[in-house]
Amino acid sequence: MATLELSLDEQAAEPARRKRRLGLLFWFAMGWMVLVFAVAILADVLPLPSPTDMDMLEKRAPFSAEHWLGTDGFGRDELSRLVHGARISLIVGLFAPVIGLTIGGALGMLAGYFRGRFESIVVGSMDVLLAFPPLILALAVTAYLGQSIFHLTCILGVLGIPAFMRVARAATLTLARREFVIAAQALGATHARILLRELLPNVLLPLLAFFLLAVAVTIVVEGALSFLGLGVPPPISSWGSMIGEGRESLDVAPRLAFIPAIAMFLTVLSFNLIGDTLRALTDPRQGAL
């Protein structure tokens, strides 16, 4: 009985908490995200100069009507590179966690539902992946595979699998003991039906909240690799490589490093804020499911 009272209390407190959580900052984050997505999608349609055309006479030009954010060390338009860089960050940052979400989520649900030897194998093999510091593994594999956006996305995706597996497994473990699953089993539902119709809709919520946090981490790792010159191959612009190139001219034109740095910080912060808000709303421990 005590548990019932507890859950009732939390449900009563729920609307108030939800209202307070979606504050001004949350909407700022949403606004920035919409802006970044919009320019990334419309990058080719927007009236911008080419991000790769060099103009050696206009190296590191200041802000002007022609080049709104000036030009970089090769005389390329900074604003255009920033917009096209957003595209790379979002492509890698969104698709890599999709790989982690699908494979890790599926493995975690299967492991949490069937338990037994399958679970031990899955958890054990994830432990091996986790035995490598993530950035080291990413660097090593890129070194052998060669630099390309596709490789980068795949590597960062695989690196995300263990974390998604853990989230999905933890959620499945608690859900699999709930009444509606037991009822479905009693009605003679197949394993596939229970997994897809009963468990998946419930596991998906925490997984999606975690997905946003994973996007933030992926954007940071992609940025770090590109910053070291080991991410996306030049002349493609990425925020990380722009910051890396801007580092060379910190004394004469610090804006070349700081403009992409601010863009990246705001984007990562936005994903973290929105992800954290959603995670707080969907955390099963707080009775919000």
Partner: protein, 316 residues
């Protein structure tokens, strides 16, 4: 405790073997044959075939793995074909730099994070608490390479207080060594303190609501004594856990920081090996770092068990 130790040690062996297999597979199955890389421009099909034979690359893969592992167990990690240095030499030369950097960073991180956590927990919900929790959250979104750039710009370019790049060994000139180490260590610490503060803060807030704290208050103990002795002591466990969890990110962070500040540590060795396609060094360093990481995690587990009796009695 002896049983717990034996049980954890038994688990360590298969993980280390799996790590070695994965490192070997990454290096062998992916494109970019070693023979082509070594020969470079002089690679003719005959040259490549001859070198592959010399290096045993034409043997079946399981045989190559076993002979590689055999050499490693005898302490032979191979030799760079660019510099002639053995992997072990290169790593032992650079390990002190990375260790010093990581220890300094963790110390600075703790020095910032712990007092802030205590201050926030003592007045949880206050304006100061909310401001610091918010800042910590924002700092978590600041990647290491961004804070590195920011610190270089502030302290090396604008104020000219500290050097942006360079290194002097500690044994030669401790003061100069610290001057070169401050900015890199601070960069890493900026990524460390938010995690330390957030976890320790919520841990202490929970501890402050326990019955024994109420008892201590009822006994009329000084608030500072309650805060530091009664509430902070049980949270020392949490600090061990956070430090353990942070090590993976800290290692990744040193790779970036050593590259930015030109410190001759393991991270720079690794990145340099990738730039020059020095695959033997790369393979050896990845294996050693991963093995070291596994062993450090193992030690953290043991430390955790030594501090908390519940874990070694079967709750693990």
């Amino acid at each position: 405790m002896a049983f717990f130790l034996a049980w954890r040690l038994l688990y360590l062996v298969p993980v280390l073997i799996a790590v070695s297999v994965l490192t070997f597979l990454i290096a062998s199955l992916l494109p970019g044959d070693l023979a082509y890389v070594i020969l470079g421009d002089q690679a003719t099909p005959e040259n490549v075939a001859a070198l592959r034979h010399d290096m045993g690359l034409d043997q079946p893969i399981w045989w190559r793995y076993l002979s590689w592992l055999g050499h490693i167990l005898q302490g032979d990690f191979g030799r760079s074909f660019r510099t002639g240095q053995t992997v072990l030499q290169a790593v032992t030369e650079r390990v002190p730099v990375s260790f010093e950097l990581m220890i300094l960073a963790e110390l600075i991180g703790l020095a910032i994070g712990v007092p802030l956590a205590i201050a926030c927990a003592a007045k949880s919900g206050s304006a100061f608490d909310r401001f610091m929790t918010g800042s910590a959250f924002a700092m978590l979104s600041l990647p290491t390479f961004l804070s590195a750039i920011l610190l270089i710009f502030l302290f090396a370019v604008e104020l000219r207080w500290l050097p942006a790049t360079g290194y002097v060994p500690f044994t030669e000139d401790p003061l100069a060594n610290l001057r070169f180490m401050v900015l890199p260590a601070l960069t890493l610490a900026l990524a460390e303190w938010p995690g330390i503060m957030r976890v320790l803060r919520s841990d202490m807030i929970a501890a402050l609501q326990e019955d024994y704290i109420a008892l201590a208050k009822a006994k009329g103990l000084k608030p500072s004594r309650i805060l530091f002795v009664h509430a902070l002591k049980p949270s020392s466990l949490t600090l061990v856990t956070i430090t353990g969890i942070n090590i993976g990110r800290l290692i990744g962070g040193t790779v970036i920081v050593e590259s930015v500040f030109a410190l001759p540590g393991i991270g720079r060795l690794l990145v340099g090996a990738i730039y020059t396609r020095d695959l033997i060094i790369l393979q050896g360093v990845v294996l050693l770092v991963a093995a070291g990481f596994v062993i450090v995690n193992f030690i953290v587990d043991l430390l955790y068990a030594a501090l908390d009796p519940r874990i070694r009695h079967g709750h693990a």
